[in-house]
Structure formats: C-alpha cells, structure tokens
Amino acid sequence: MVDLFVRLPERSFAMGLLLRGAMLWLLARLLVVSTSAAVSGRISGSLLPTTALAFALGVGALGLLDARRRNEYRFLANLGVSQIVILMLATIPALLGELALGIAGVR
C-alpha cells in the first residue's frame, strides 16, 4: 500500500538527486558563511533550528527546480514518482548536513 503513495525513483536517478542536493546545500552554505563573514567581519555558520529547517527546505526546492531544468521530472513522473518525492530526496542531504552542523555545534 505504501507504494501507492510513495514511490522512490530508480537507484541511479535517486542517487543523482541526492548528490545534487548535497552539492546545492554545500554551495548554499558556503554562500551563507561568506555573506555573513562579509557583513559581520567574522566567520559564523550557525543557524537557529527553525532557520536551518527552512534553509534545508529551500535547498530542496532548488533541487526540484534543478530536476525540472534537467528534464528529469517528466521521465520520473512516468516512473510513478511524484514531485513531493523529488523534493524530499533533494532535501535529505541538506537536512542531514544541518543536523550534522548542529550536533557538531558549529558557531
């Protein structure tokens, strides 16, 4: 029954989405750190938990847009994969990254 609601894409497409999600998160994070350094004059990567969550979702949305730009969205729809699942896969690396930074206590 779960398959009726959530169908993950085939392995190579799923890995592609995860990898690009990780790359996007890394780039977005670097942008945040460099902007904060330019504004405040000191390097700081910390985000409030809610901000970190919103940030991860934002990165996921970028991943979804990237999948559309790459024409993967139509083919994945024919594989039975919804946009929510694409968004979810693109968000996972960002969520894990933010979680890791939170646990490591990056200031």
Binding site: R7, R70, R74, F75, N78, L79, G80
Partner: protein
C-alpha cells in the same frame, strides 16, 4: 472492448481564452485512436489533462474504471499509463540505456534490448540523450514507451522528426503494443501514416471532439475533409485506404 481511459466533458481555458469547452476522449484496450485537429485546437491540452499533467477547469478523468477528481501524472503512471509528450521526455545528461534500465528496474517489466531494436536505437544506447539528433531522441523516447509496455499510451506526435524509413518501425512498434492490449492514442499531422496506423479517428475542433469512426469513414466526412484535410488530400486518402483494405 474494454474502456481503459475516459476524459469526459473536459473544459480548459488559458488566460481567459477557452481552448476546450466539452472535449471527450475515450480509449479502448487494443485500439489505436488518432486524435487529430488543427494547430492550437487543444489536442495536447486534452492529452495533458487525460494524463494528469494539467488539471481541467471542469470534467472528469476515469482510468481503468476509477474516476479521478484530481488526477496526477505519477499516480496514473503507477496504474499503467505512459505519456509521451511532444518533446523533452528524456534527461539530456543521461544515456538512453540509463532510461531504459530505470524503467525495467522500476516496473520489473520490459526487455530493454528488444525495445531498442524495435526503435532502431541499438547503436546509440550508450550515448547521452542530449547528444542525439531530434529524430534519434524521438525514437529513444518511443523506445521507453515500448519498454514500459503500458496499459495505456498517450503519444503526442510520436512520428515528429522521424524519417520515412523509421516511421514504419515506430508504427509497427505501436501496433505491437496495441496487439498486446494496450490502448494507444496518437496525435500529429502526418495524416497518411497515422490514418494507416489508427483504428479510429477523433477530431478535435472548436473546443470539442467528434468521434469520426474508422479512418476510411473519417476521410469521407465532408466537414472534416473541408476544415482539416483539404479536398485533394481527402480524395487521395480515400483512394489509399480503399486500396489497402483488400490486402489487410
């Protein structure tokens, strides 16, 4: 024959311009329907709505006996529908083989090599889709549909950009799908080829649709001939279809 897909009384407007007002599309198992009409008449819109890629303003879509108030492409795809849009189905950065393997793994169906042979794409299975010519890419897109072996295939202009030699290959592939019970809808302006391929013709015009019956009956419909085919082509088609009938 079993009715596989029914899009009933569909209406759709874009920015206040009404494209479809009461269009109906019925697709039966084992039958190839040719949805035909002039540019901008709403053929692709109707297919997009039937497949769930676009939501109608009103009307219902029923797939395999189940009515959908808000159908989605991915949900219908899981139930056996495959949509071949008029362009850009495959990811340019991935190879043809990757797409075919993805289908085989996802659904546990399909012989990728056989699909590639049928569509004459074996020689560029390992090339990226973005590096293929438009015609080659189109054949690769059709091959993904063959590999999927769906219960219902909606193919928007499947013969576009395909040379005359390979058109017959694609037509045979679609016939083969249909003979296995797949309900097929094709659109396009390659009237001679598609009339030869189709079992029935649906004319989309003025926001609505008319079921014209067999291609031979459609070619003799005076209003269809006058508005879409043109008199000369209609006469030629009637002659062609009449000479084909004894052979089949």
């Amino acid at each position: 024959m079993t009715l596989v897909l029914r899009a009933d009384s569909i209406g759709k407007a874009f920015a206040g311009r009404s494209v479809l007002t009461a269009a109906t599309l019925r697709v039966h198992a084992g039958e190839i329907s040719f949805l035909v009409g002039r540019n901008g008449c709403g053929k692709s819109t109707l297919l997009n709505i039937a497949t769930g890629a676009l939501q109608p303003d009103y009307g219902t879509v029923t797939f395999k006996g189940r009515a959908h108030l808000r159908q989605t492409w991915h949900a219908l795809a899981r139930q056996g529908l495959y949509y071949l849009p008029d362009r850009d189905l495959l990811a340019p950065s991935r190879t043809v083989r990757q797409h075919l393997i993805a289908i085989a793994r996802q659904f546990g169906v399909g012989d990728t090599e056989a699909a590639a042979r049928v569509c004459h794409i074996v020689q560029f299975l390992d090339r990226r889709c973005g590096d293929l010519s438009t015609g080659e890419r189109r054949r690769a897109e059709v091959a993904t549909a063959i590999a999927r072996a769906p219960d219902c295939l909606l193919a928007d202009e499947p013969l576009r950009h395909i040379d005359p030699h390979d058109r017959s290959l694609i037509a045979n592939a679609l016939r083969c799908l249909s003979s296995r019970g797949c309900a097929v809808v094709v659109t396009g302006h390659d009237v001679e080829d598609l009339f030869e391929l189709a079992d029935s013709v649906v004319w989309c015009t003025d926001g609505t649709t008319y079921e014209l019956g067999t291609p031979a009956a459609a070619a003799t419909n005076w209003r269809f001939a006058a508005t879409y085919l043109g008199a000369a082509r209609a006469v030629r088609l009637v002659g062609d279809l009449a000479t084909q009938t004894p052979a089949t």
